[in-house]
């Protein structure tokens, strides 16, 4: 007998493989797949760029603002960028459908721009980054975040100090 029992059991139980691509396959929600960048939450600390071992993440200045670029073909999906991101401005999704023809390899990019603005208080040129949590002594409301976003870093510190004092 021995192994014969196993064979009979397997025969009765049917295939144990997933029917992919004709059906769904096992994908847990925690899977580290395609990377998503959320410019509205980004504080432009560039920690993700510094910890990325594959050099997949790059920030560069464009006329519109600070551009974030992530090339999925260099990405190892280690998730270190998302781990060290202070604001969840970069996250990994469970989308693993990343197979693509060679001709589309340079399209495998996640892109986003933090726009350059004129400070609402002093008029200096600044980036509309998400305000750092340290600027508030309480969890900020969306309106407070948007107001802070319209200031340059110097005016942000000034406004925050005035509010904390009052």
């Amino acid at each position: 007998m021995g192994f014969l029992g196993v064979l009979i059991r397997n025969l009765v139980a049917g295939p144990s493989t997933d029917p992919f691509p004709f059906g769904e396959t096992f994908t847990p929600a925690t899977l580290r797949g395609r990377v998503e960048y959320h410019p509205a939450d980004c504080v432009a600390c560039r920690a993700c760029e510094q910890v990325c071992v594959g050099g997949a993440i790059r920030f560069d200045k464009t006329p519109e603002g600070l551009r974030f670029l992530l090339w999925h073909d260099s990405c190892t999906f280690c998730g270190l960028c998302a781990f060290y991101c202070p604001t969840e401005g970069i996250t990994l999704t469970d989308d693993w459908h990343l197979a693509h023809p060679q001709s589309r390899k340079f399209a495998m990019v996640e892109e986003g721009t933090i726009p350059t603005i004129r400070c609402a208080a002093c008029g200096a040129q600044a980036l509309a980054t998400a305000p750092a949590a340290a600027l508030f002594d309480h969890p900020p409301t969306p309106a407070e975040v948007e107001e802070m976003r319209s200031y340059c870093p110097r005016c942000r510190r000034k406004v925050a100090a005035e509010r904390k004092a009052s």
Partner: protein
């Protein structure tokens, strides 16, 4: 009878990884073996000094896929020593859990390959199917099937909530009876026994001479395990039995691995039952001053030692590791002496060689 030389490798159907053996045979008996390495040297050790301390968490994980948790674990422990960072009790327990899950998957893979090399592919498939339970577990808890990305400097990057713990418990409950059944097959199946018992013997004296580590040493009767000899992380609080066998043949090495996979289930349950509360890992990147440190851990293949020297800059000055396969592959000369040609691949696979770790 005349002798002649057969080249085996570096690319060969019977080898899982590139390694070159110049085998001198007399009839079908091996008389002498010359082992040449260096076919997959990628310069990773040099590369670590060109990457920052934090980038290296991921780089060391990519050295090898089967021990991909042990490398960053030892690396992070070395950096933590240099920077004087204390790891929380919860993070220590979670580190143990990550490495024990990886151990089960790694050991089952090697034991499956043994069945494949024996020619018993049905058992190979069966073991690989059982291993899928652990693969699914890794994918669910960590987000990847091989490079689990569990460690960061100062702790771990993942946390287990009640949902994660109950999934872990359920998967272990599924795994345990299947693992017991596999052990029974390896103990009783005549095809396995005939091909592996008394083959590739490394007796205790030779094992001491070759300074082998890991399951290879334990199958030759040497009760050496870093987890009990020099406990790190939470291993000092856990009950980890060291499994040894006396024969030192291919079969003993497989059985030691299976016993350790079984123990890993028990260790995981111990950790899950007494998971301390507290933080997991710092999300701020700590400053790492100049200094040097040595850290070691028990990788699935045996003792893994990391040496790290920093100079206060962003990149480490030197990272050097000694992998278990480096100690074990020298013993192949002893194991292959007077072996049959047909057993060469079985014996080589029985030390679970990891060439990508060794040659980096």
């Amino acid at each position: 009878m005349s002798t002649f030389t057969i080249p085996v490798g570096p690319l060969h159907v019977a080898l899982e990884e590139p390694m070159y053996f110049k085998v001198e045979v007399e009839g079908e008996t091996v008389r002498n073996v010359e082992i040449t390495a260096g076919h997959v040297h990628r310069g990773v050790e040099y590369l670590t000094t060109k990457r920052t301390i934090f980038q290296n968490i991921t780089l060391t994980e990519r050295i090898c896929s089967l021990c991909s948790n042990s490398h960053p674990e030892a690396y992070c422990m070395a950096i933590e020593q240099i920077a004087g960072i204390a790891v929380s009790e919860r993070a220590e327990s979670l580190r143990v859990m990550a490495s024990e899950i990886k151990r089960i998957a790694s050991h089952l893979f090697n034991v499956a390959i043994l069945a494949h090399l024996v020619g018993f592919d049905t058992l190979f498939m069966q073991v690989m199917e059982t291993r899928e339970i652990v693969q699914d577990l890794k994918e669910t808890l960590f987000g990847n099937r091989m490079d689990i990305g569990a460690n960061c400097i100062g702790g771990v990057r993942f946390d287990l909530d009640s949902k994660g713990l109950s999934y872990l418990a359920a998967q272990l409950l599924r795994l345990e009876p299947q693992l017991d059944e596999i052990v029974r097959h390896y103990r009783t199946n005549t095809s396995i026994l005939r091909r592996t018992r008394g083959v590739g013997v490394l007796d205790r004296a030779a094992a001491v001479d070759c300074a082998v580590v890991g399951p290879v040493a334990r199958a030759s009767g040497i009760a050496y395990d870093v987890r009990t000899k020099a406990p790190y992380s939470a291993y000092d609080k856990l009950d980890v039995p060291v499994h040894t066998l006396e024969d030192g043949d291919v079969w003993s090495r497989a059985l030691v691995r299976l016993a350790e996979a079984k123990t890993a289930i028990d260790v995981l349950r111990q950790c899950a039952a007494h998971l301390p509360e507290g933080p997991t890992g710092p999300r701020e990147r700590p400053d790492v001053p100049a200094g040097q440190a040595i850290a070691k851990c028990e990788a699935p293949r045996g003792e893994l030692i990391y040496y790290v020297r920093t100079d206060g800059s962003r990149c480490p000055e030197r990272v050097k590791w000694r992998v278990p396969s480096f100690m074990n592959w020298d013993a192949l000369r002893v194991m292959l002496a007077d072996a049959k040609v047909a057993d060469i691949s079985l014996i080589v696979s029985s030390i679970d060689p990891c060439i990508s770790c060794t040659e980096r």
